[in-house]
């Protein structure tokens, strides 16, 4: 493989090298995104501030101690999560634009689905962190005993957040080069997410107030899980198309 007749100082390696593999690549990307975000904290701070402000505003707009307002708990939480989430999701692929880093990632031997998955997981972790802090603030302002059903609530929030992340990260890839991307992303994501948001709100409402779920609520859990599965599969399938022109 050397050019004929030349003295090579170091022959180029032609032996098969270890491929990063799907999971290895995804983990490298997720770790990089998390490190970047934790260092700059731009999106994280904006997201947190936004969610606290919304929670505060709501408690001024609607009496937080009234029974009726407590019935809105699930809806309020997910409104906050959805809006705060958009801030983190838009940044997901937008952070790759300065210095043409996105090109280097797509050219690297990491498959588009692995690149997408790494970013989705990083977004999910960041979003969960913001949501847990929001839950604490919510618990304080609304006197909601959300820790009573802690694990079921966290489970539901994890599933709902994954729905938001899965669709949001892919649309972030889709809209990365567009003007008005910050406006476009939420407007595209929220309608698609309506079934998942509906399910998450139905499930989180009682749990956030410390109450158990009625048995006829299980249909919502199945819907949420189904949504997550279907859209994860769809996103992984379309990741390459979304990223490569």
């Amino acid at each position: 493989m050397k050019a004929a007749g030349t003295q090579a100082e170091t022959a180029p390696r032609t032996t098969a090298r270890a491929q990063p593999g799907f999971l290895g690549g995804a983990v490298a990307i997720a770790a990089k995104d998390l490190r970047s975000e934790l260092r700059t904290k731009e999106a994280l701070n904006a997201s947190l501030a936004f969610s606290v402000v919304i929670l505060l505003l709501f408690s001024f707009a609607f009496d937080p101690t009234a029974e009726e307002t407590r019935a809105l708990a699930g809806g309020l939480l997910w409104l906050v999560f959805a809006f705060a989430g958009a801030l983190i999701l838009t940044r997901s692929f937008a952070r790759e634009l300065p210095n043409d880093c996105l090109d280097a990632l797509i050219a690297a031997p990491i498959s588009a689905p692995a690149l997408y998955l790494g970013k989705a997981v990083a977004n999910w972790l960041l979003l969960m962190a913001v949501e847990l802090v929001s839950l604490v603030v919510f618990g304080i302002f609304y006197n909601a005993p959300w820790t009573r059903r802690f694990w079921p609530l966290v489970g539901v929030i994890a599933l709902g957040t994954w729905a938001l992340t899965v669709v949001g990260t892919l649309f972030s890839a889709l809209t990365v080069n567009l003007r008005l991307r910050e406006l476009m992303l939420p407007l595209l994501v929220y309608p698609v997410l309506i079934p998942a948001l509906l399910a998450a709100v139905q499930l989180s409402g009682p749990l956030a107030l410390g109450e158990p779920l009625a048995s006829d609520m299980m249909v919502w859990l199945r819907l949420l899980a189904g949504f997550d599965l279907i859209f994860t599969a769809l996103a992984l399938t379309l990741a390459e198309t979304a990223l490569v022109g």
Partner: protein, 233 residues
């Protein structure tokens, strides 16, 4: 095996053909200078070779494989306009990330070695945000060469470089070719590129107006190629 094999490659933006009927073969271990005016299609062609875009029509083989094939991408090094460095990460972190993505066995070790090789050992843990243009250039080159690629694709690598940096890069590329690697670089800097090149391709409005070996004629009078085959540069 040829480093590049293009057969009747077209690329469309809507109905507008940015590349038309591009066909050529490039053997391994050579240096190709890709010339042409702005808008002639150089960047489009390089993006297709790097796997960032797919051709509209025709076939492209890079190191014997489809450019989107991960095994092929692992053997290709890419250096574009933007340098592809993360401002908020350190030099070492940048290189380690790409070392991981390119499947190197000891990512941190390789990153450390290359940081030293390009003379950035003192700033290894500093954030790239604080680097000068010259330092970024060196780090970007390290990133492109990190995984010992068999094929290097460079888009206007001499832009905004001072004389010393140009010479350093030329030496690096000359060594690469000597080691048997293939280099493809697109450029406006005719002289610097023609000094390195063994092969020359001229794109005029998306068509391959000239493809062949670099002659001494070209070296003595770089603009000759444009006068003969295309419009003035």
């Amino acid at each position: 095996m040829n480093a590049l094999e293009l057969d009747q490659v077209w690329k469309f933006y809507g109905d507008f053909p940015a590349l038309r009927q591009i066909s050529f073969e490039l053997p391994e271990g050579v240096c190709l200078a890709l010339l042409g005016r702005n808008g002639a299609g150089k960047t489009t062609l390089l993006r297709i070779l790097s796997g960032l875009m797919r051709p509209g029509r025709g076939s492209v083989r890079v190191l014997g494989a489809d450019p989107r094939d991960t095994m092929a991408r692992a053997r290709i090094g890419v250096l574009g306009h933007g340098l592809a460095l993360y401002d908020e990460l350190s030099a070492l972190e940048n290189l380690t990330l790409f070392a991981r993505l390119y499947g190197l066995k000891d990512p941190r070790g390789a990153a450390g070695q290359w940081v030293e090789r390009v003379g950035l050992a003192a700033s290894a843990s500093s954030l790239v945000r604080e680097f000068s243009r010259g330092m970024r250039q060196r780090l970007a080159v390290a990133r492109a060469f990190l995984h010992e690629p068999e094929l290097l694709l460079l888009d206007e690598p001499f832009t905004a470089l001072d004389d010393r940096a140009v010479t350093t890069l030329q030496d690096l590329l000359r060594d690469a070719v000597r080691q048997g690697r293939t280099v493809v670089l697109s450029t406006h800097q005719l002289r610097e590129a023609l000094e390195l090149a063994t092969h020359v391709a001229l794109l005029v409005r998306g068509r391959l107006a000239y493809y062949g070996t670099r002659t001494n004629e070209m070296l003595e009078d770089p603009a000759w190629l444009y006068r003969r085959y295309g419009e003035a540069a």
